[in-house]
Amino acid sequence: MPDQAGLEAIAQELRAADASSVLGTTFDRGRAEVQIDPAKNVAVIELLREKGFTFLASLHGVDYYPEEPRLGVVYELLDMTAIDRISVKARVSIDDPKIATVTKIWPGADFPERELYDMFGVVFEGHDDLRRILMPEDYEGFPQRRDFPVGGEPVLFTYNETDQYGKDR
């Protein structure tokens, strides 16, 4: 992890390239995080890649209900040479959850982006094959959102299989 000063230096460099790209930084319990403008995620990630953070360790979503913008898209970047990690977080609103895909940079972002779309409804623009991955294709709603209830869906048994989801069977 870069320390506090290292994180600020990285943020400065990102700001120097595009002043509006970085919204803030957090250094908390050893974790360095840069909050960025979702419209500029690819540019920021490309810059960080040039700085050595070439590996996308993880890509996941967070729902900050009830704060707006609600949905967070978190990229955990890893520098395998300097052994350093940095998190990049872009927050998108629930009404227009759109962000550019990074599958062109890392083909391996395919499944994680689909999972994020499936669970939170974040639309990755430019993704070739954006469809549900873990939930059934005809599923409605985005289950990992905080306002999605647990147990809001009846369990399918023989006696009710024709009432709900299986009614067209």
């Binding site: 319990r29 993880s58 955990e76 890392w106 391996g108 905080r146």
Partner: protein, 411 residues
């Protein structure tokens, strides 16, 4: 609408990238799974074949999606451990470690050295166990049936050890936030020592059975090679990446849980074919055995769980004598402990690669978000580029060597 047409309708969105091959040939789309022994779980593959050659595969997953991440949000931190353990059902100690590690980082909790050693000991036993299941089932896929029995014999020994230390053979809930639930019982050390002494000989025997087997070698060597650069682009970690010659292991790179105190090597392959994938995992059996030996013989004395009564359950015997302990116990069991606001990503080296647990705390006693970056989920994407333009028989071998655990893929 009949059930069959409904099924087809759901598949409409699955597009195949393979092109048509002219007038004389035609492409065959073959469905493999979800219920097929070679898929090692409920994985479904739609394969496009030209004769016997695979032109494209599309993995369809989600058949064992149980919403564990969502369930964990409804549970107090310490009650979320059992559900988190059930994700990748062959590496439950690692799942628990990633989750506990993330929560401990958020709490700023110090882990006693004995707890760290016990964790390392159990994780490495678990790694061997996971690799044995992989070796047994993979060899079975390649026609070496007897390997399955030998590997499961040693796996049973390990499961017996787990049962001895925690009372459970799988999903042991042995790791707690702050350390481990109990000290190891009397006689455990001797049994682990016996296993450690035995294991290298067993691993030698596996090698003797497989290494000189002409069929196995010709099916593994130079099949489905993928270079390190492509693997890194696909975010692949673990033995698959190491087989391509990248010595990346989080236990060495960013030691956690006291791994810096242990002496072990990282096996790496050369070209990244199925044979290297097999050799790397096989070599890890020896290295893990070495770590277990060191953890067992260097086991420090002292407490096996942190002494923070606001987080850790008080010892059972104190409940009868101390009112304060009783109150703490009651508060912890009913409400659970609160974790200061914040976010944490805790990556560890699981048997299949980087297992990272992301936990967001909103200050309450339940996590606001738990996400597991499961290595199987990410590594599965590498199957398609690996098997492109190779024979369908190699697809089965490659799937075995990728070693996805569908519980981890679907969570």
């Amino acid at each position: 609408m009949s059930a069959i047409s409904d099924y087809r309708k759901r598949e409409e969105s699955v597009t195949m990238s393979a092109e048509s091959v002219g007038e004389s040939h035609e492409l065959l789309t073959l469905n493999i799974g979800p219920h097929h022994p070679a898929t090692h779980g409920v994985l479904r593959l739609i394969a496009t074949l030209e004769g016997e050659v695979v032109r494209d595969i599309k993995p369809i997953i989600g058949y064992v999606h149980t919403g564990i991440e969502k369930t964990a949000e409804q549970k107090q931190y310490w009650k979320a451990i059992p559900v988190v353990e059930r994700m990748d059902y062959l590496s439950y100690y690692f799942n628990a470690m990633a989750f506990c590690g993330a929560v401990e980082t958020l709490l700023g909790l110090e882990i006693p050295p004995r707890a760290q050693y016990l964790r390392v000991l159990h994780m490495e036993l678990n790694r061997i166990m996971s690799h044995l299941v992989w070796l047994g089932t993979s060899a079975l896929d390649l026609g070496a049936m007897s390997m399955f029995w030998y590997c499961f014999r040693e796996r049973e020994t390990i499961l017996d050890l787990f049962e001895m230390s925690s009372g459970q053979r799988m999903h042991t809930r042995y790791f707690q936030v702050g350390g481990v639930i109990e000290d190891i019982p009397v006689g455990f050390a001797e049994k682990v020592q016996a296993f450690v002494d035995d294991m290298p000989t067993r691993a030698d025997q596996y090698a003797d059975l497989l290494e000189k087997n002409e069929i196995l070698l010709s099916r593994l060597r130079d099949t489905c090679t993928l270079d390190a650069e492509s693997l890194l682009g696909l975010n692949v970690t673990g033995p698959l990446l190491r087989a391509a010659g990248v010595p990346w292991d989080l236990r060495k790179a960013t030691p956690y849980c006291g791994y810096e105190k242990f002496d072990f090597k990282i096996p790496v392959g050369t070209v990244g074919d199925n044979y290297d994938r097999f050799r790397v995992r096989h070599a890890e059996l020896y290295e893990s055995t070495k770590i277990i030996d060191q953890a067992l013989n260097g086991l420090p004395e002292g407490p096996w769980i942190a002494d923070d009564r606001k987080v850790v359950l008080p010892p059972r015997h104190e409940l009868a004598t101390s009112m304060e302990a009783l109150i703490h116990h009651f508060k912890l069991v009913t409400e659970g402990f609160r974790v200061p606001e914040g976010e944490c990503y805790f990556p560890i080296e699981a048997p299949r690669g980087e297992l990272g647990c992301f936990v967001r705390s909103d200050g309450s006693s339940k996590p606001a978000r738990v996400h597991m970056r499961d290595p199987s989920f990410v590594n599965l994407q590498a199957t398609a580029p690996m098997v492109k333009d190779s024979y369908i028989a190699d697809l089965i071998a490659t799937l075995a060597m990728v070693d996805p655990v569908l519980g981890g893929v679907d969570r």
